[in-house]
Symmetry: C2
Subunit: 325 residues, 2 copies
């Protein structure tokens, strides 16, 4: 009899489910390109950094995944997420000296772009004459910051952006990233802030054509996406420091669910947040501590991600040091 | 006994369903602001235009609507649509001298921005020094076009952009627009290119909190969104020229469904398009004609929307002239 590892189902059943999920998923179109970029990025950041130490690398996942309801996709289920948390966290990780693999939902918030209006091109610029472009005054600093800091991070090989849309793309890419980060041992971190679909329609049982709106209601059955966190933790990147997120709208069940995730998936840390207060406060849940982290309105960097990443960097350093012994 | 008007259900039942939909929908947050903008826009464009004639006004709807699955929305069903068709059509309507109310899904393709990369701010600009911003060479014309043409149209009161996200917002805003355009009589046109959800979860029967992913599959029942097209046509803007779109992935049923929509909703025109060839070809379906419209690759404006809007403008002019008699 196989161990259940705190899961409802035995590990080998889970492994089989995950294998079936990947086998039935539409194959990633740009797998070779992603693989090459990842290899190069990890290699560059495996060399001793400027200060002589080894650079830490974090994969930040951000935004929501979609679940197609039709093979020739017209309708899909989406998970709301602006990607604000992931973008902000990426900025603070870069500031702390990390290299960041930013696995983000296409079109969501990008690092250094949080204070820009929705449509920066049409809202921030004007032409004085034919060739003389100018940034409108209230946005000039935000625009300069966005362009120059993004460029510096990308060209310096400290920021690799990999966009996804569907749950199928996300999980295949996450597996590739985790496997490519194995060589970094405990210096690797997975910071899983993306809003990942819990339910999906298996590709093969999906309607080929657009669902017709004839008469009557539409009944849909979605099955659970196999929980990959434990396999990620144990098999894909067993030495990486793993942080998952728990978002709830009901504060009463939040910490209980975060605790459960910590044990069930053997995470090093779970960041618990409630939808309505998520920009003000989060609770860092570990096996031996619960730390409430608040936004500090009196500081310049007044994001809750500022003290959060500070705490995480500290715990990750301790983890690296303990691993060295 | 009431007439059915070609619908499966009597008109009075439909009216009651529509009323119930609006009554149960979460109220529009910025209703007053939208109402003021609309009134001003229609008023400005009701005055005789430069050439002395009366300006025609079209409402172009664009992008997909979402259907929330939870009241405190984490998950929702979305309809895929880049908004490319609506943005392109808007450009050609403006070129033809129309004023355009662009009712578009937040974040989708904007007029004059079709040839820009996904993230124009980060991909098209660079700083030579602290304050000297420059457009990267391959994008310079596209960026200038986007900014100057958009600005000219908006400041000239020829383009009013009204963004929506949910099906509730979309239908409430469409009703407001149609009612505000009544004063324009036959000079008003409704060009309904948005991908509107067929099914939804009534607000009151919706889960208040995030759906939990406990054990087992998720069964969902969605009900049909009441078909508003007939009411829009007959009650909201009875004199406006009305065009709806029919998108299918299965070409075999496409024209039949377009014909059905034409009769059932008394549209003046239905534009039929198939998902895989929608940028190459559409079929304009009217009660007395079916015209296949193709992209002309030898011309400068090589969008299928160029000949499509040309044809529509012609038919709309004939409609206006007939109404005058």
């Amino acid at each position: 009899m196989s161990l259940t590892n705190g899961l409802e189902i035995p590990k080998e059943t889970l492994d089989a489910e995950i294998q079936a999920f990947f086998d039935s998923a539409p194959p990633l179109k740009n797998r070779v390109d992603i693989s090459e970029k990842l290899e190069e990025f990890v290699k560059k950041n495996s060399l001793p950094s400027g200060s002589g130490g080894v650079r830490k690398v974090v994969c930040v996942t951000s935004g929501g995944t979609t679940v197609p309801l039709e093979q020739r996709c017209v309708r899909y289920i989406d998970n709301f997420s602006s990607g604000y948390r992931g973008a902000a966290s990426t900025e603070y990780f870069l500031k702390a000296g990390y290299a960041v693999i930013f696995l983000c939902r296409r079109g969501t918030c990008q690092p250094y772009c949080r204070s820009l209006p929705d449509d920066p091109l049409l809202e921030c610029f004007e032409y004085r004459d034919e060739s003389n472009i100018k940034v409108s005054q209230p946005h000039s600093e935000a625009v300069r910051n966005a362009i120059t800091k993004n460029r510096a991070a990308v060209t310096g090989s400290l920021l690799l952006k990999l966009p996804f849309t569907t749950i199928f793309e996300y999980l295949q890419m996450l597996q590739m990233i985790a496997l490519s980060m194995r060589s970094l041992g405990p210096h690797a971190m997975l910071y899983l802030a993306a809003a990942v679909s819990d339910f999906y329609v298996p590709w093969k049982s999906m309607a080929e054509h657009k669902i017709q709106s004839g008469a009557g209601p539409l009944d849909m059955r979605l099955v659970q996406v196999p929980k990959m966190l434990l396999v990620l933790r144990q098999d894909w990147a067993p030495k990486a420091f793993c942080i998952s997120f728990k978002l709830e709208t009901d504060s009463k069940i939040l910490l209980e669910k975060a605790d459960m995730a910590l044990k069930k998936y053997k995470m090093h840390m779970v960041v618990a947040n409630e939808l309505s207060t998520r920009k003000e406060e989060v609770v860092v849940v570990r096996s031996n501590e619960k730390v409430s982290v608040h936004r500090n309105n009196s500081l310049g960097d007044n994001d809750v991600e500022s003290p959060l990443i500070e705490l995480i960097v500290e715990r990750h350093s301790a983890y690296v040091n303990n691993s060295d012994i």
